[in-house]
């Protein structure tokens, strides 16, 4: 193993250099330090090294971001403390947090089209296997699939609450409007059911999971729209 040879400083100039170095680096010392370093390689290395450390430190990159749990904890705490006085509709918060629904309408439409396309594919697959149960009971949609993140689970629960709310008030809806909402909800419930079926067979299929969450998000949009309409 190599060892660092260390000696006491022999040159008085070096001793003075060391004594003044800290102050020099702070910018408030005599130029003796620089002058000595010019004649003394050993001291000049020290000076260069320390200046380099200072320069690199100024320029250190930021670390990666903290994990999403930090914001979700902050959010939950602030909400519990009542700091959010101006709130977005609660269902929209979950959707935003789940980052599932693109904000702009054309993108949302595209996502929905993609969803439908995938569901068609699954449908074919499922029909070939003949294992699908076509009966969709209201409780089928109230299952929270396993393996979801906290935010996703919240979205699913939120949609369930919204649906219960909708059911409680659907009689007050204008019949023609109700028909439109029902059609949309039925189609989405079917999509959700098919995704759930697929997930039972392939629990780790992330694509199916993503489409499932998109279907929930779409459902939240429809239910929210129905509730807004109903409250007019």
């Amino acid at each position: 193993m190599a060892e660092v040879k260390q000696k006491q400083i022999e040159n008085p100039g070096c001793r003075e250099f060391e004594a003044n170095l800290a102050a020099y680096l702070e910018g408030d010392a005599s130029p003796d330090v620089r002058t000595h370093a010019k004649q003394c390689p050993s001291c000049s290395f020290i000076l260069e090294d320390l200046e380099s450390i200072r320069a690199v430190a100024k320029d250190l990159p930021l670390d990666e971001a903290p994990s999403p749990r930090v914001w979700s904890n902050i959010r939950a705490t602030l909400a519990a403390e009542g700091l959010f006085r101006e709130q977005k509709p609660f269902w929209r918060r979950w959707i935003a947090a789940a980052s599932l629904v693109p904000r702009t309408a054309p993108a949302a439409a595209l996502a929905f089209a993609l969803l439908l396309a995938v569901i068609m594919v699954f449908k074919g697959d499922i029909q070939r296997n003949g294992s699908r149960q076509p009966v969709l009971t209201p409780s089928a949609a109230s299952v929270v699939p396993v393996g979801l993140s906290g935010v996703q689970t919240n979205l699913v629960r939120t949609v369930q609450d919204m649906e219960a709310n909708y059911k409680a008030h659907e009689s007050s809806l204008d019949p023609s409007a109700k028909q439109v909402y029902e059609a949309g909800l039925t189609s989405l419930n079917n999509s959700i059911q098919e995704c759930l079926d697929s997930l039972q067979k392939q629990p780790h299929n992330m694509l199916v999971r993503e489409y499932l969450m998109q279907a929930y998000a779409q459902k939240a949009e429809i239910l929210a729209s129905a509730m807004e309409y109903g409250s007019r």
Partner: protein, 212 residues
């Protein structure tokens, strides 16, 4: 959306966000968190060296900030305010663990200690090998008191009078602690060069990596 001077419009946006947060707009809180989370987290992580602790304290700093946001009147820049708050949160935490105190004894005793030198080896300059990755590691291995002063001064850009106030020590103390921290960092590079670099002069000449 108009395209104006980015700095001015960014500041205007931040002022708007603060006003909205003061009204209790959740999205504004979220946007302020997004804008500053990296810097606060980096500070915490560097000072603590532990990602879980760093996240906990990032959370604590933002919570304290958001609870007080109604009192923010713009006397200082928002980021300065937040940053100072984060530093205090971290120091409080270190203090609880008994870690951040600057030791006065140590400061006085080691005042005259000579700097480690390697005589007779002309290639022992480190300049080329002092890079960001190494420095990050070296900082994480500094004793806590040195680490705090070094991070506050050389990384975060605080002045010694501010550090003295934050750390409750004298300005001279802050200065000598900083100098010793830098020397310790240099020793770290010396040791790692001995371990890995002595037989490969290319390493000595290597430039720090850019753009990371």
């Amino acid at each position: 959306m108009s395209l104006q001077k980015p700095a001015a419009s960014a500041a205007a946006t931040e002022t708007q966000l603060i006003t909205r947060a003061q009204r209790g707009d959740e999205e504004a809180f979220a946007a302020l968190f997004e804008a500053h989370k990296r810097r606060v987290y980096s500070l915490c992580l560097r000072m603590l060296g532990n990602p879980t602790e760093a996240e906990d304290l990032t959370q604590e700093a933002f919570l304290q900030l958001f609870r007080k946001i109604a009192t923010f009147r713009g006397e200082s820049a928002f980021s300065t305010w937040l940053h100072r708050l984060a530093v205090n949160v971290v120091l409080m935490h270190l203090r609880k663990k008994g870690l951040n105190q600057i030791s006065l004894d140590e400061t006085e005793n080691s005042q005259g200690e000579p700097i480690k030198r390697d005589y007779g080896d002309d290639d022992r300059r480190l300049v080329g090998s002092i890079d960001r990755i190494g420095l990050n590691r070296a900082i994480s291995e500094l004793p806590p008191g040195y680490r705090t002063v070094f991070i506050l001064h050389d990384v975060e850009g605080y002045e010694h009078n501010e550090i003295a106030e934050i750390m409750n020590c004298s300005i001279g103390n802050s200065k000598s602690q900083l100098h010793k921290a830098r020397l310790k960092l240099r020793e770290w590079f010396q040791q790692h060069q001995i371990q890995f670099g002595r037989s490969s002069p290319a390493r000595v000449a290597r430039e720090p990596k850019e753009g990371e």
